[in-house]
Point group: C2
């Protein structure tokens, strides 16, 4: 409809009922008022809104609430929001530095994702939203005017788990399945309760790789993000009767017996251990160590980001076959990478593993930036390992 | 870690604090009990759980709540859940027929997505979860053992909107960008407040197309799902000061000037109007009519699913250049398809448009199944049009 006819359209809107699940029948005779328009096409409030001064305004429509609190990792503690006109609660905050921060609203004690923000933190057990606060200059995780790779959702049947599953796969710009270029592959595992979408949606794998590749800082590679936790879906379908979060063996089998064959038959990739890496965060870091250090013929690059390893269990793992013998690591692996934030609650076990590797003469990297057990740190770990892999 | 060493691992777990945002320091000396294990690795409750008899059990952990209600389109009205052990509320329901149903919990009056279900309904203004209830035989929207296409997230800069954007793209199994096969393209638009993810995650485009193509019922095609609403992101970044949900012209420009050129330079597609279709649901149906009927040199296949058209505005549209003249339609278009459920609140305007097209001798399809303004109907519309397009 041409712009000139908008008044006619507005009049016709009188005939339209509210879009709702209730599906009311069309009724006529209402006077067209801003209130009627707002009821017909409720736009929601703008949240988050990114202000020119680097601050962010969060808004939550909750006319009946007695209290609304903003809980976000950009603040040291949860902070009350302020009730304004029309029952819209708001709060403007400035993070210490630009980054992508998880947050939620606590409405009368109930944690909810921001209803007006489609950017959700993919997770099995909580629903947070994401605020993407950019600085004056784009960072490595901000989309820039460089060639963009893509992330594809691939559907496959897992023999290991007995269910149909999905993985996400990053391919760099210009990837050509019929070309002569064969790419190395990073298998990248999420943390506990995360999903196959978390490294994509929260970890920004594609944007970080696009930028590093465009700047000549990372080699072109394919990144495969499997779903390392089959139990919720198996239980949902009655195929498991308990949730075994420590079933690392199954995750390794899933990667080696289901995911890897799928990738190697569907993508133009290199298929030697020299060109295969495994990395993971938190519980995924534990899984990456088992999958990688336990299978030197499969992977020559192993990266553990704030791995969920406990006490000195690695001593057992190096002796019982869970990992290859510690004396063999320098010969078998091109990169053994460990990274954990200094305020991460898992830093103790990482320091202990680092010391053990050093004692045993294992060449390895131990990266200890500031920060805790967060996805802000995850993106930093990824940025580091992407510049080391396959070189 | 080998299975035999699990008791050792369990003992080491004593050293692990709760995984939480608070990042407590590791503390020792706790006795290992099921309660401690549950605190260390909280699995969440299983929800939804699909029972062998076709019923579904929903569960919501809300120990402090006074009331929890299940609101789902599989029931005629919201229904109270029952408080059980440990503050877990539950309800088992059997839908009238197997399908994928949106639902949410209303906890003390607050609508929340199911915290334990990662399958979210992508939307700008509400957060619903999805329950995927399967019947004894797989339906067209259930994953089957057929070759699977993929859905890719493509990042691009929109000149029309001045922002970086994302679209999703379905390519069928065996699509080969270097092969000799060129595919036709369906541009498929979501409804009001939906996003570029809704046709994928809720509409099951990829599964429906995989199945229809495998059964020889649909032609191989690429399906492009743009984000037809730039306003939330433009407002979030200060690039628009109001939300213009009726800016159909901008959506048409975005599709023709940004999305189409991206697709035609990045995919092996046919580039004549004969091989280009546009379809959409609700507000997207309105946009599909404007984009399609308004651009006969671009599209020869136009499908409107429960389009948000009002009264007899189409009379104006056919005369003011918004649509091509009604007398030209039979010559210009190979398919003019209109489909609206008989209990959809928009059925009146669809019936009116159908009558007008008939009066004017326009060959067209008017499909009126049971059902309302729902995504259960959307998948049915898609199943129908996919079998007609490009034949």
């Amino acid at each position: 409809m041409k712009t000139a006819y908008k008044p006619i359209l507005a009049a016709l809107l009188l005939l339209v009922p509210l879009f709702s699940q209730a599906q009311p029948q069309a009724g006529a005779g209402q006077r067209l008022t801003p209130q009627v328009m707002a009821r017909l096409f409720p736009p929601g409030v703008v949240s988050p809104e990114y202000n020119a001064d680097g601050s962010v305004t969060f808004r939550c429509q909750a006319a009946d609430a007695a209290s609304v609190v903003l809980d976000t990792q950009m603040l040291p503690a949860a902070q009350p929001m302020v009730r304004g006109e029309g029952g819209v609660w708001s709060l403007t905050v400035t993070p210490g530095k630009p980054d992508i921060y998880p947050y939620c609203f606590i409405v009368d004690g109930k944690r909810i994702a921001d209803p007006n923000n489609p950017f959700i933190f993919p997770n099995e057990n909580f629903k947070n939203s994401l605020a993407d606060v950019r600085g004056p200059e784009p960072s490595v995780q901000d989309i820039r005017d460089v060639p963009h790779g893509k992330v594809s959702y691939r559907f496959y049947h897992s023999k290991t788990c007995g269910i149909d599953r999905v993985m996400t796969v990053y391919t760099p710009a210009g990837y050509d399945p019929a070309g002569s270029e064969r790419l190395p592959v990073l298998y990248l595992i999420h943390g506990m309760t995360d999903t196959y979408e978390t490294w994509f949606k929260v970890g920004r794998v594609n944007i970080i790789l696009d930028n590093l590749i465009a700047d000549g800082l990372a080699r072109r590679m394919i990144v495969v993000m499997p779903y390392a936790n089959p139990y919720p879906e198996m239980m949902r379908q009655g195929l498991a009767d308990r949730y075994d979060s420590m079933d690392t063996d199954r995750v390794t089998r899933e990667i080696l017996d289901d995911v890897k064959p799928f990738i190697e038959s569907n993508y133009k990739v290199r298929t030697s251990a020299r060109d295969r890496a495994v990395a993971g965060f938190s519980l995924g870091g534990r899984q990456a160590l088992a999958c990688g250090l336990g299978n030197p013929k499969e992977f020559q690059w192993v990266c553990a980001m704030a791995p969920a390893i406990f006490g000195e269990e690695y001593r057992t793992n190096f002796s019982d076959g869970t990992y290859a013998p510690v004396a063999s690591l320098n010969k078998s692996f091109r990169l053994v990478w460990l990274g954990t934030g200094t305020s991460d609650f898992l830093i103790g076990a990482s320091r202990s593993l680092d010391a053990y590797l050093t004692e045993n003469g294992v060449k390895h990297t131990f990266y200890t930036p500031d920060g805790g057990h967060t996805w802000m740190n995850c993106r930093d770990y990824l940025t580091h390992i992407a510049q080391l892999l396959f070189k």
